[in-house]
Assembly symmetry: C2
DNA sequence: TGTACATCAGTGAACGCGCGTTCACTGATGTAC
DNA sequence: TGTACATCAGTGAACGCGCGTTCACTGATGTAC
């Protein structure tokens, strides 16, 4: 192909980050640079014209996935016209669905990247972004101003249940328990309040 | 060293499995055979005299970790002389401690191996053992016969919260949020009932 | 607007390295007499 | 109980392979005139 226009190069770069953010969520960050570039329609050699290292891409792809997530619940909130509990309910329904369990690539980065982030160093940009994403998510799940009993920490506990159920149901997929986990967590999160 | 007594060989084998079960929980199953054997005090060449493949060891080490876990809450139950809620409370306290967060090697295999199991094939022995371990754990966390409101699924939801909090707090370690997660989940699990 | 040339995104071969696994070899252990 | 020999757990070098990364090369793009 040789040289390519600046616009094309920028689009290629964007496509690599987007592909990475999906593949990393689906298979983990140990996906190889070669596989990644092939999935993005390029050869592996081009990688280092755009990124300093694989680590740098992991950080950038993580940030990309979280930005997408934030955009998603902004849309959700808007869709329910600010009715916070209805937006939360819709998110919980989608989050604990079999479709979400089976589509990690397009799914929640908090769930998909937890272990890769935990195994990466504490000083990594990916962890900073991840932690911020967890805070945002917990805030979204927190009880609204109008409801009582909200201690702030409640959003965090609800996130633990939501997140834990998804990760556990993925690990037990193939057994009926996998679906039972989604159901049990859904019941606990929707009936309690 | 050359040949070694049958008793010695068996002890070596046991040591490799035990070392693997700890290292896999701490760093994931991609720990190399060479590192593993070095940690067990042997050279990598000896590995294939005892195990068919690395996969086989992963399966065996997973089973080993779960057997240890089951033994642990059997002891816990006995210690509290069958007082189920007291045993549960003690387990929750320990589970959501900073010590447990920082010592994955000796900690809960449900939390430490979730992603490795999810990424391994659905037909793997490790997943079968894992799923069974989740069921046992949920049964331990279920409300006792004497308490009301137990629908069976409740033990599963509580496990999701417990497990989710530990995994999330490990991923966010380094931020104050990490400890807040442990506290929030602890409050939710102990006050609710 | 047209020409001449420098730039640089993308290519594909190559690098050193660590992986899982194999293998010829060692020599104390276990066994047969 | 003592001797002769087969066994086999452990050693360390070597295997093919895929990894992250580098590099000489290409040729359309972008720029200077």
């Amino acid at each position: 192909m040789s040289r390519v226009s600046q616009a094309q190069a920028e689009e290629n770069r964007r496509r690599v980050v987007d592909t990475a953010s999906r593949l990393f969520r689906e298979q983990g960050t140990q996906v190889s640079v070669a596989d990644l570039m092939k999935a993005a329609g390029l050869t592996h050699g081009a990688f280092y014209k755009q990124f300093a290292s694989k680590e740098a891409l992991v950080d950038e792809a993580t940030a990309h996935a979280f930005a997408e997530l934030a955009r998603r619940y902004a849309v959700e909130l808007q869709q329910y016209d600010g009715r916070r509990d209805a937006a939360q309910r819709a998110l919980i329904d989608a989050y604990l669905s079999v479709e979400h369990r089976d589509d990690a690539a397009d799914g929640c980065p908090v769930a998909a990247l937890a272990v890769d982030v935990a195994r990466g160093g504490e000083d990594r940009e990916a962890r900073r972004v991840y932690t911020e994403g967890v805070l945002d998510f917990a805030a979204f799940l927190a009880p609204g101003e109008d409801e009582e009993g909200g201690e702030g920490g409640d959003g965090i506990a609800r996130l633990c249940t939501l997140f834990g159920a998804l990760v556990l149901s993925r690990a037990t997929k193939g057994s009926p328990l996998s679906e039972e986990i989604l159901t049990a967590a859904h019941a606990a999160l929707t009936q309690a309040r």
